[in-house]
Amino acid sequence: MRKVAIISYGLTKVDKHWNKSLRELFGEAAKKALNEIEIPSIDAIIVGNMCASDLSDQNNIGSILADYIGAIPTTAYRVESACGSGGAALLSGFTCVASGMFDIVMVGGVEKLTDGIGKETTYSLGKAADAEYELFYGSSFVSLNALMMNRYMHVYKTPREAFADFAVLMHKNGAKNPYAQLPFEISRETVLNSETIADPIKLYDCAPVGDGAAVVILCPLEDAPKYSDTFVEICGISGATDTINVSSREDLLSLKSTITAGMKAYKMAKMSPADIDVAEIHDTFTITAALSLEDLGFAEKGKFDKMMSEGTFEPGGIVSINPSGGLKSRGHPVGATGIYQAAEISMQLTERADKMQVPNAEVGLIQNIGGSGSNTYVAIMRRCR
């Protein structure tokens, strides 16, 4: 298997981009990534997206995007695994390059959530859950996560404020991110006094709805110096699944897909959680962050709040968590989120993160979840000198 590098990235600000279409957003990110490097061709475009068929009435987006960015006749297709679509695209792109099938692969993610109106968007996002056995009964994406949060607080007696404090940290980080959808600081009271969506989840426990596109360009590590001076190696990557129904899980307070994908990625990189300097984790809700921190090995089970109060996850802490502001503040352009994370870790490891920069970041990790934990992709990246 060949080693794989990320040689370039491009992002749009996550926002409600009323004046830009799906293809325009993707084109913006792709142009930025291509402007950084000189490459002979693009052998494949693999794009993560969840909601285009529902909200933009568009399937077949591989062809649309290849056409729009002038890359015909390249291979191009979309992959979908709900919010994990970006991670799935990254794994597909990695596999294509590592196997020798393709040399230069553009891996992207794009989402136009504002092409739907309110309820349509919520409904489309809800389809990450089991349509026949969860949605049928009136569950929504938020309420399924609320079931986990209520159980967590019951079992571990975690104070409600601890979850609010995670959101506060995310907004503090995101305030420094030029690509963030909600780049402002908040207080604990902002969270606690916000509207209840599904008890105990409040509005400020949730990632916002926004549009965005992100692109990373992959090539064999040995070729990377030909195209770029600033590249990182993807030294571990994996994906795993868990039951689509939250109710079928053996342990309601573990994301088994995250544990499995994490262990495989750590093993492939020959690393452990202690080696990670900076991570972009999938905090769709504050409860998702708590479970993710524990299941990636950054916090003991049931004790994310204790570690957080000790400053473990702050920029420059033992492991800097979401210097971008995470899904909470940077935003969650669903199928693009995993690629935002990959681009953000590339930025950190090549010291191009400006005000978000974490000191001495050598190794970074991304974790991208689909559904309420029914799939997870984890990738570990290393600085190259």
């Binding site: 026949e132 949605l135 009964y137 009136g138 309420s143 079931l147 159980r151 599904a198 109710s247 309601l252």
Partner: protein, 133 residues
């Protein structure tokens, strides 16, 4: 939703029919092609117990499409007497009285409908046992 898509799930949704694995004894609900735990295909039809307890709940205040008229309503995770878990609405309860650990039993209820002339969907919900308001 087409009518067949609704009726083919009737055994599971109205009679709580799942499967028991002939090899490892695991109860699969909803049914699967191979056992979730051991991968065996020797799965026999099995009816879940009708009683259990509430292991988590939430109150849906921002309902999905089709449930607007019901909100706010309670959604629960129920652990049945044999340990099988199921997601369902909790009914016949004051929302403030919901507690984790509360004993519950299944009841047959209307869940949603497709407008005035579409299909009416029924399924199992759960209600507290010995509940006195």
């Amino acid at each position: 939703m087409s009518v067949p898509r609704y009726w083919r799930e009737i055994p599971q949704r109205t009679r709580l029919e799942g499967q028991k694995c002939g090899r490892c004894g695991t109860v699969n609900y909803p049914p699967r092609a191979r056992c979730l735990k051991c991968g065996s295909t020797s799965l026999e039809q099995y009816r879940l117990p009708e009683k259990g307890s509430l292991i988590s709940f939430t109150i849906v205040r921002n309902p999905p499409v089709g449930f607007e008229r019901n909100a706010p309503y309670a959604l629960g995770l129920i652990e049945l007497e044999d340990g099988t878990r199921i997601t369902a609405q909790i009914t016949d309860v004051e929302l403030d009285d919901l507690r984790i650990g509360m004993p519950v039993e299944s009841v047959f209820r209307k869940v949603s409908e497709d407008g005035d002339a579409g299909i009416i969907r029924y399924a199992i919900k759960f209600r507290p046992i010995f509940y006195n308001p």
